[in-house]
């Protein structure tokens, strides 16, 4: 059986044993100006995709990341139908991210039979660029109980997941907690869905950077978060983002514990789970900070009201929807551990 995966056109098959030599030959060859090509690499990225059709999307993200993070990327597909005991490899030809004479990404794709975990991990380990950090991007559903995930996670300095793919919000957060517990004492876990909430967290923080608004904070003792849900507003669709923001607010301002209301509102299918409004307010006065998503241009409009209900400040913050590459970029740029996320997840 000759298994394959739908890779971009710039990928060519290679024998596993030959991958390293083929990659080395590329940067030892003269560049376009006749000089040796500049070879830079700052990290390894192991990307595990659930669906073989996602390899092109991963390659696109790698190409964008390579512009700022010279990278060796190893994309892994495991399939039941793949040849057992035979790992197949392809090498990408660095279509993006490098200028002439500069190699800034090296892409390898591997296809393995689902049960071939041990030889797969050994192959990956042999292909890692030496002495550089290893980021393990799990681009799939909840990894709990997955053997391939567990084996590859052992190689990683940082695990990157996206809880938006995990289904039910509460269970998704439990999965992240489980990963953090598994990694306790070692390098961290990053959730791209948590990074999606960054524009909200940055906007809220920016409002309270204003000393006059910060002075209102002690009077605020409740909060609400609205997010887009499918169907009618009564149907509670899961939103891990709303739940993450709620935990963050409660962790930052402990008196909000048990006083954050999460409310689904009807929204476009494409935006399901997206947070659209956050407010902090007082139960006894009109004091409030209200932030709402606005379109064209996409941003967050915020208004702070004093204890008389008068508008004290009004702002509009740019808050463009972050692409997967931008989310990955932010994850890679961030320190290995995120103590704010960890503290938020410990909060009831």
């Amino acid at each position: 059986m000759s298994a394959s995966i739908p890779l971009p056109k710039n990928f060519a098959p290679a024998a596993v044993a030959d991958v390293e030599n083929r990659l080395a030959a590329r940067w030892q060859a003269p560049g376009s100006a006749g000089n040796g090509a500049v070879h830079a690499c700052t990290l390894n990225l192991i990307a595990c995709v659930e669906d073989a059709n996602d390899t092109a999307a991963v390659s696109d993200v790698v190409g964008r990341l390579a512009a700022t993070h010279p990278i060796r990327a190893i994309t892994i597909v495991t399939e039941e139908s793949a040849d057992p005991n035979q790992i197949r490899a392809w090498i990408g030809s660095n279509p993006a991210g490098g200028s002439a004479g500069q190699i800034s990404s090296e892409e390898i794709a591997l296809l393995a039979q689902t049960d071939d975990t041990e030889p797969l991990v050994a192959t990956v380990e042999g292909m890692l660029a030496a002495d550089l950090p290893v980021y393990f991007w799990w681009r799939g559903g909840s990894p709990t109980g997955d053997h391939t995930f567990a084996a590859l996670a052992r190689l990683a300095d940082k695990i990157i997941v996206d809880s938006i793919r995990f289904g039910d919000a509460a269970a998704a957060l439990d999965t992240i907690r489980g990963l953090l517990a598994m990694r306790a004492g070692r390098a961290g876990v990053s959730d791209l869905n948590w990074i999606r909430t960054a524009p909200w967290r940055e906007s809220i923080a920016a409002c309270f950077d204003d000393a006059a608004v910060l002075a209102l904070l002690p009077h605020m003792n409740r909060a609400s978060i609205n997010y887009y849900a499918s169907g009618s507003t009564g149907a509670l669709a899961p939103s891990a983002r709303a739940l993450l923001l709620s935990h963050w607010l409660t962790n930052r301002v402990p008196r909000l514990r048990g006083r954050v209301r999460i409310k689904p509102v009807a929204g476009a299918t494409a935006g399901i789970g997206r947070v659209v409004k956050v407010s902090l307010s007082s139960a006894t006065s009109p004091t409030a900070l209200e932030l709402e998503r606005v379109d064209d241009p996409v941003g967050v409009a915020a208004v702070a009201k004093n204890d008389s209900g008068e508008i004290l400040r009004a702002w509009t913050f740019p808050a463009e929807t972050l692409s997967e590459a931008e989310l990955m970029h932010r994850s890679i740029e961030a320190p290995a551990r995120d103590p704010v996320l960890e503290a938020a997840l410990r909060t009831d």
């Binding site: 512009a67 967290r201 940055e202 000393a211 006059a212 904070l217 930052r252 400040r313 913050f317």
Partner: protein
């Protein structure tokens, strides 16, 4: 008194220390610096969402260009700047709406009263909370008068009297004086009206990423600091070479010269970063204390044998970029008998335990063969070569070269065996190139420094005693050279590496300048 509370939402965000609401007032807003550097830098900060949401810009100058003219300069500056990374019309329009312009004379108290009224109005409109940054993009001779009139108008303290954390900061551009006495006078004049904590003296070299990387290289890597001393370092060479001439600024350069323009500030900043002791922390006080301490440790130049430690030069006709160019004295605005140096080299001795006996050779000049800023740490040669009966009789010492511009990076030169049956050694370079590794475009120095000022971080700005210590080093040479008109200028051809005396400065010690 109410206790200020910290913003609990700020922790862990990309900007862990936010810029506070403020107004940025630029004196000299119709000038070249504002147009070419400041406005593009402010745009870059806005585009990167690094300016506070409550923020506006007020230009102030004698020339009547109005709000529209000032906004057009912003747009033109952004369009023409090579330092703008992302062009976003929405950001540019939003910023332009917050740019205002006032026509006024820097000597007119009524203009400052008007400025005060306008700033109060903008405070209410933009929520800037009485905080202001005054940027002095004017000739240094105007600094004293401007700060005096700001003070008289009640603008040197926050409009809200600090009730909600308001601030007033001033940014002043080099040159900070033209000698030690004038620098001391300028500092005294500024400090009569504002405190040292309010003064941000810009040397844009410190805003360069690669200059800051000197500190990371030294203090974040365990392998360099143990050998960063007189036991292992033979000498240090610092070069700021410019291929350009004076580019039509004859009148300015006649008053300035290379020592005031480059060496007293940029080169001594680089010297201090290479030679300083590790600071306890990187807060402004610790960092600047160590930086100034090492400048103060540089031995005064020996005026009795000045030619042994200092060389001056002036370029004559020659070539640049493959074409003939005129000499300095033939440039517009330059006196035919000018003795203004366009080249200078010094041998500096840092008189402390770490650097005893290690000379720091610094040189800078115009119309040199290429544009290059580099710091080279020349290590001592291996004490013993165990390669008897081979073709190896000498091996060059290792060199760690820090390239500040262009092609920012670091290279380490070391000996490697040439492949083959015989023992032959060749020097090779292990290169780290910033651009190839990080791929991102650096923030411009002005961008970084304006942002730091907004955050109230003085780490990368000069302090009064630092400025004065730097003047104290070059002042004797400036005085001696000014009173000695016997010098035979020009003494180097445009397109060459400077006067022959500069080579002697090193050959006298058995060394030579690196070929760059």
């Amino acid at each position: 008194m109410a206790t200020a509370i910290a913003n609990p939402f700020r922790e862990g965000l990309r900007q862990d220390r936010a810029t506070e609401p403020c107004q940025l007032v630029i004196f000299g807003a119709s000038g070249d610096l504002t147009h070419r550097k400041l406005l593009p830098a402010i745009y870059n900060l806005a585009q990167a969402q690094l300016v506070p949401p409550s923020f506006n810009v007020v230009g102030f100058a004698r020339q009547a260009i109005g709000d529209d003219g000032f906004r057009q300069r912003l747009k033109d500056g952004v369009a023409q700047s090579g330092e703008v990374r992302v062009r976003d019309d929405r950001v540019l329009s939003a910023l332009a709406e917050r740019c205002h312009y006032m026509t006024g004379d820097f000597a007119d108290p009524a203009a400052f009263a008007e400025l005060k009224s306008a700033l109060a109005k903008f405070d209410a409109e933009y929520g800037t909370g009485g905080s202001r940054i005054f940027y002095f993009a004017t000739p240094a001779s105007l600094y004293g008068g401007i700060v005096e009139r700001l003070h008289a108008a009640g603008l040197t303290t926050s409009a809200n009297d600090g009730k909600s954390g308001g601030f007033v900061r001033i940014i002043v551009e080099k040159p900070f004086g033209r000698d030690l006495a004038s620098a001391q006078a300028l500092n005294a004049e500024l400090l009569r009206y504002v405190t040292e904590e309010q003064i941000y003296r810009i040397d844009h070299y410190l805003g360069k990423e690669t200059v800051q990387n000197i500190l990371v290289l030294r203090f974040a890597n365990g392998i360099f600091e143990p050998i960063w001393n007189r036991r292992y370092v033979d000498h240090v060479q610092i070069t700021v070479a410019e291929s350009l001439g004076i580019e039509g600024r004859g009148a300015f350069y006649e008053e300035t010269g290379v020592v005031r323009d480059i060496i007293q500030n940029h080169m001594l900043q680089l010297t201090s970063l290479v030679a300083m002791e590790p600071p306890q922390t990187f807060d402004a006080r610790d960092f600047r204390d160590e930086k100034i301490r090492v400048i103060q440790a540089i031995k005064p130049l020996d005026l009795r044998a000045l030619e042994d430690v200092a060389v001056r030069g002036q370029y004559g006709p020659g070539s640049a970029g493959g074409a003939p160019v005129v000499g300095y004295r033939e440039e517009d605005g330059v006196a035919k008998n000018s003795i203004t140096p366009t080249y200078a080299a010094f041998k500096l001795i840092v008189d402390n335990w770490r650097w005893a006996g290690v000379p720091f050779y610094v040189r800078s000049g115009k119309r040199l063969p290429k544009r290059m800023t580099e710091i080279a740490i020349q290590f001592k040669e291996a004490p013993h070569l165990p390669f008897q009966r081979t073709q190896v009789d000498a091996v060059e010492g290792n060199v760690l070269a820090l390239r500040i511009q262009p092609n920012e990076g670091i290279s380490l030169k070391f000996g490697a065996k040439v492949p083959g049956p015989s023992m032959r050694i060749r020097s090779v370079a292990m290169d780290f190139a910033y651009g190839a590794t990080f791929g991102t475009e650096d923030a411009s120095p002005y961008e970084r420094l304006i942002l730091d000022c907004m955050k109230g971080d003085q780490t990368l700005f000069d302090r009064a005693d630092g400025v004065e210590a730097a003047w104290a080093i070059v002042d004797p040479a400036l005085s001696a050279w000014a009173s000695d008109e016997s010098v035979k200028f020009p003494n180097y051809a445009a397109g060459s590496w400077g006067p022959a005396e500069a080579d002697k400065l090193l050959s006298r010690d058995g060394r030579r300048w690196r070929r760059l």
